[in-house]
Symmetry: C2
Subunit: 459 residues, 2 copies
């Protein structure tokens, strides 16, 4: 397929029609007027500003409307919060209070999702009083620097990243924010310009700037915020996402395809099929299922990701080679499904003791493990011996991976909330068919993804 045909097709699916744009802008205008009206009634000196993708002209179908209320910087924070919410309620009549760094109002008007957010009107981002104070600057920067004829490139890049699975700065994705997508198009000129750079120039640690003077960062990808050179807009991008995006860029430039933007779901897989898959590969399955802690995604996912990174190493140390790890989160569970080289290990463990010259540890070790001499049955498999200057002893150990994980999981530092549930025994560990069947019943798509490891665009 030719890239331009693919991309025309994509745009026809994601770009809002003129009617949607007109309606969204009209709703936004009405909200702004309502907010200014409320401000007058309440005697407040504030500005209101449309921000986000609607303001920047980079929105896809089903656009959200984000309106910011800018308070004078000397406003006490509690006043800002209370007055902001009050204004928002007067303007749209109702809504649900939500919290990011401070409270904002979320509502729905004429079928559009609305966020009304109070912030400080600061002279520049170096006077930042709350994290959202930067947003108006970002909006203005994009409006000023993104050429109107490049807005479609932003839409294509957003959808490409969605399809590839790297769109979103939230911890769940660890990918690219909308603002970062816009900056990339500004920097490299076009959708293809970005892909070319990613495919050919980027390395881990690549630092991208629009003007010079940015600070140093250790992140996998660095894009200096043009409105705040001490900030890395790409800091949420994980090495995983960066690698996947770069690989996708290379592949797409070689053979463009609609599947990059709209991947096929993995073929469904039932328990029997998954068991056949494992048996052909001579491997086993292990499932660790922790009750989902009642915390927001941005608190939960860093813990999930940390556990996903750490558990395989622990399993390998215990003698269970990890071929693959699939993590998933459902309403009830945080799950880790492992493909293991074996579900059972040897019964004997070689326990390495201290060097023979390490006094008094060496003496204690020998005394402890020779207790069997005295009629104790502590160690039926013989006594300590020396190897390369150390005492060692062979002792029995648990054989089943599931048993080992049940005993050891609480030592594995899985992050605060996950650890707590493990401490409290609010987790299950299953192996083999039990593991596979549980995933099939709780989240069949995750069983499918466990089996089908192709990049989404190759499905």
């Amino acid at each position: 397929m030719r890239a331009e045909d693919v991309e025309r097709d994509v745009l026809s699916r994601i770009k809002p029609g003129p009617e949607e744009i007109e309606r969204a802008l009209a709703v936004a205008e009405k909200i702004k007027e309502g907010l200014l009206e409320a401000a007058r009634e309440m005697g407040l000196d504030v500005d209101v500003m449309l921000v986000g993708s609607l303001a920047k002209g980079t929105f896809m179908r089903g656009v959200d409307i984000d309106v910011f209320i800018l308070f004078p910087p000397e406003t006490p924070r509690d006043v800002l919060e209370k007055s902001g919410l009050e204004m928002a309620r007067r303007a749209i009549g109702m809504g649900e209070e939500r919290y990011a760094e401070h409270p904002y109002l979320h509502g729905e008007v004429d079928g559009f999702e609305i966020d009304i957010v109070p912030c400080y009107r600061i002279p520049s981002p170096s006077f930042l009083k709350s994290a959202v104070d930067r947003t108006p600057f970002h909006t203005r920067f994009v409006i000023d620097h993104l050429r109107e004829d490049r807005r479609d490139d932003v839409l294509l890049l957003k959808q490409f990243m969605k399809g590839v699975g790297v769109y979103g700065a939230e911890a769940k994705v660890g990918g690219f924010s909308g603002y970062l997508v816009e900056l990339l198009v500004i920097k490299y000129g076009s959708f293809h310009g970005v892909l070319e750079a990613a495919a050919k120039e980027w390395r881990p640690g690549t630092k991208i700037e629009i003007q010079g003077g940015g600070a140093r960062f250790e992140d996998p990808l660095v894009f200096i915020d043009p409105v705040d050179p001490k900030r890395n807009v790409a800091s949420p991008v994980s090495l995983e996402s960066l690698g996947r995006f770069m690989a996708a860029a290379m592949d797409y430039l070689k053979s463009p395809d609609i599947r990059f933007f709209f991947p096929n779901p993995p073929p469904t897989v039932n328990t029997d099929q998954a068991m056949d898959f494992l048996s052909e590969r001579g491997t086993g399955a292990l499932l660790v299922l922790i009750e989902r802690p009642d915390v927001v995604d941005d608190t939960l996912y860093p813990q999930v990701n940390r556990a996903r990174r750490n558990i395989p190493g622990r399993l390998e140390e215990e003698g269970f080679p990890v071929i693959h790890t699939h993590r998933f989160v459902t309403e009830k569970w945080v799950g880790f499904l492992f493909e293991l080289g074996r579900e059972r290990r040897e019964r004997v463990k070689k326990h390495h003791g201290p060097p023979v010259w390490s006094h008094p540890h060496a003496e204690r070790f020998v005394e402890k493990w020779r207790e069997s001499d005295g009629g104790g049955e502590k160690n039926s498999w013989g006594e300590p011996y020396t190897e390369a200057g150390r005492w060692v002893v062979e002792i029995p150990q648990h054989v089943e991976a599931a048993r080992v994980v049940k005993k050891r999981a609480r030592e594995w530092g899985l992050g605060k909330h996950l650890s707590q549930h493990v401490e409290e025994g609010r987790f299950v560990v299953l192996a083999g068919r039990d593991a596979v069947d549980m995933v099939f019943r709780e989240s069949p798509v995750d069983l499918a993804l466990f089996v089908d490891r192709r990049p989404p665009w190759r499905r």
Copy 2:
């Protein structure tokens, strides 16, 4: 048991009677006279000297007689060699020519084993012309510094080290030479003095000196040669032997026992018993049997030891945990018998490719492993995907440990002669019962030692 009872018992078994001593000294005297007589006939200006344990009074039952012929240092080497052998032949009538650094004569007289060795009469060991030139200095040093009433301590320490398996500087043992034993007794005053120091003071790298001024060495144990401070008398002592001797010393001081000096052999084990042993422990066996290269022990054993150290790591890398390694050498074979955590591994292998940004390697990797696309059946288990910035692909691999070793052994750098036999296919690899049974048939004591890992003095 009380130490003095044990030691009296030991001495009664190893110390030669007055009759044996008298006869040995008489034979030595006769040989010396014969050599001087020959020198006169041949017009040679040489000295002859009784060296070794007979000269030093530190010999056990079945003593060997070592006589050195000291030539003037200006003697050409070929003259020294020819004249030395000729003198020796005239003195003892017959004998077998042997080679160390240069040829010497080995023979038997009146039931004693005799070595007659030509060397240079140098003013001090710093003028060394051949390795054996040091021997007369060693002999004189011990005669001058070992108190007569400490000779029994030397005998006890030699026998203790024999029993524990660390006596002998040859590569096969990697242990303590007779001269080192004598120096240790001179340094620490007695058999118990040496054990106390080993048990409580020694560390790896401990440097022992009689006078100061010795060079620096990286060996596990350092004993500066009092007649040549640039030499470490303990350089052959491996970490393995050092650790074992120190452990034995600690144990003996706590509970003296005749078994330290005369250990019991391991209980015999037949194939069925060894298989039961493995099955109870949930482990497997793997045997690598290489045809024994036709080289002397001091060439062979360093290679055997290197292989013994290296192979386990390679097996672990391949996914076969190594619980224990037993190496053995018979007339026909060099053998390595491994106890493995499993004899079969998973069929799938996760093959890690280059980082996605590594051009053109990344592109080549993807092209290679996606060949299955084009109808090839190269990789039936799906295509490459990215993980933490790298391409990976899952491919089939050999499952049996024996098969893997057969394929890989030639890459393992086992030392010149062992490698050569492996290259030439002069080796066999067996697993499970076949492995155990082969060892039982070729060298049953090694099967027993494989199963019984207790230190010799605890059998």
